[in-house]
Symmetry: C2
């Protein structure tokens, strides 16, 4: 590696090498009209040969914007941030924006610290990614750049927030089970303190009510783990052997349920349909059978968040509020059998 020994080449290097002034070189490289084709070509050739890359900082200093967006996450270990980040990168990619990633690890102090760092770097905007869909404390209204909250909405309605529509997800899951001819549907989900658990349950109940039905048994809410899925699934199948479908609040829970079902000799999907939530590929694609699930469309959410930031940067008067983004159903073998 060339240990920084070779200083980066500057515009002035290129200019002198091409035998023109700095400003002419600048114009040539930025493809301005007021420069002859000959010199333009010559400058470009020299720049190419010297592998000149313009110093974005210097440029940003002039322009007042850095072409940089901060992604402040509390979910670095997690599966939510990654697709959101990818979506944001997609949206930014075309526009020559780069992403500063900061991991607050769910700690408010660290978050403040990183926020200051990002502002210090004059990011043009900030996307705040949480790991739950419960509202989180706002970063406040006094931040000099646009802020968009993704996944975890802000608790301040003046902020712009994007979050997946969990109620619609719950509804979608149950409607699919109904469409598969199931009528005796139970629900196992995670920590009832999570908005996600409550919202999905609400959506499920609404869909059932529309069909003149109710959940079989009380919804079983405890942990977002496979273990809980196994335990709850076993209990449920013994107490209510006549159920024909289980809507699970997460893919992990669903995998536990699949395990218990097999242990108890229930065949999925013929005898029992199982649907998960999150569409986490490592889980849904490796289970036996593969798992039907609700996909929160996080990549789209990331893209939308990036677009919102863009709009605000460009001066659009974005109005606050939480936008619920649509989710989608991904059907696999755990609800519809292969023939």
């Amino acid at each position: 590696m060339a240990n920084g020994a070779t200083r980066a080449v500057t515009l002035s290097d290129v200019a002198s090498a091409a035998g023109v002034s700095i400003s002419t070189a600048s114009k040539a490289l930025n493809d301005r009209e007021d420069v002859s084709a000959a010199t333009k070509a010559r400058v470009l050739a020299v720049a190419e040969r010297m592998s000149f890359t313009p110093n974005v900082m210097a440029r940003g200093l002039l322009a007042g914007r850095t072409g940089t967006v901060g992604l402040l996450t509390s979910d670095l270990e997690g599966r939510f941030m990654i697709p959101i980040l990818m979506g944001a990168e997609d949206a930014f990619g075309a526009g020559r924006i780069n992403v500063f990633l900061c991991d607050a690890r769910g700690d408010a102090i660290r978050e403040q610290h990183h926020l200051r760092e990002l502002l210090s770097r004059r990011v043009d905007g900030i996307i705040v990614v949480g790991r739950q869909t419960d509202p989180r404390p706002s970063l406040g209204q006094s931040i000099p750049v646009p802020v968009v909250y993704a996944y975890a909405p802000s608790d301040d309605p003046r902020d712009v927030s994007l979050t997946p529509d969990n109620v619609a997800g719950g509804r979608l899951a149950v409607e699919h089970l109904l469409a598969c001819g199931r009528t005796r549907i139970a629900h196992i989900s995670g920590d009832p303190a999570y908005a996600a658990a409550q919202d999905r349950l609400e959506g499920a109940r609404a869909a059932l009510a529309d069909a003149g039905l109710e959940l079989i048994g009380a919804p079983l809410l405890s942990e977002w783990t496979e273990q809980w899925g196994r335990d709850a699934g076993a209990m449920l199948l013994q107490q209510h052997p006549d159920i024909d479908a289980i809507f699970c609040g997460s893919d992990q829970i669903a995998r536990g349920v699949l395990d218990s079902a097999r242990d108890l000799g229930r065949s999925v999907p013929d005898d029992l349909a199982v649907i998960g939530y999150d569409n986490w590929s490592i889980l849904v694609e490796n289970s036996r059978p593969e798992l039907t699930s609700i996909d929160a469309n996080l990549q789209l959410l990331g893209r939308r968040a990036a677009e919102k930031v863009f709009e605000a940067i460009d001066g659009a008067e974005t109005q606050g509020g939480t936008l619920q983004l649509p989710v989608r159903l991904v059907i696999r073998g755990s609800t519809i059998a292969h023939r």
Copy 2:
């Protein structure tokens, strides 16, 4: 949100508000000696009140370094980059470095594009993260900042590369099985085209040879999937019912093996010990029983990579080559029974 309406406050704003010159304000804020305690305090107070944050770009323009490192990954979807990134953040955190994240998605074109962007931003160094341990093409020797390759080493020995020691991992896994009293050990792993598969196998064979033993049956190498683990596990247990341990090349494969073992009435760990690889928490902590696994210490690897970049930035004459980092064994219920 304050849509960028409020321009960021500059040093000159602070200076005039405090009634001092720009340079005095600068000295006060940077805690230089040559300024009276009184004015220093006053400037600091004013800066605090106006929530002044120094423009890192302007500062970087002077200093010639940006306090920024690029992380060029081909594994954004993946589980390898996250812990590496976390480790790097840990190492950088203290030093006020921020990380630019770029996802090349395994595409060489995109990688070149991002590389240019990073250089354009005058990052002080670059960490390149791959998704396999097979050597990857070098970015070349003509990059004006230090480059460190993490996980996937560079194919150019002049580059600095850090990669987990898979041979040691294979050895460690088998030594653990031997220590548990197992002697009839088989191996199921992923795609034989991966260096990881070959290296782990090599380590396993070495450990067995040291004990005067050999693998039972031929190693079964095909895919890094749970499905393959199930299929291979079932076949193996039927062909060689007397094996007492299976070393699996990934946690996914191990989970498949656990599944098959249960189907065939083999009890884990009493009758059959199973060990995985990667220590991917979502998999190892949710299996039944929980899965003993080899942890590649990726967070440490990320930290080391960051430190290497640091050293090189500070001018240390780092020498090239691939450094194999130690891995560790994490023991759970799939190899040692609870009492």
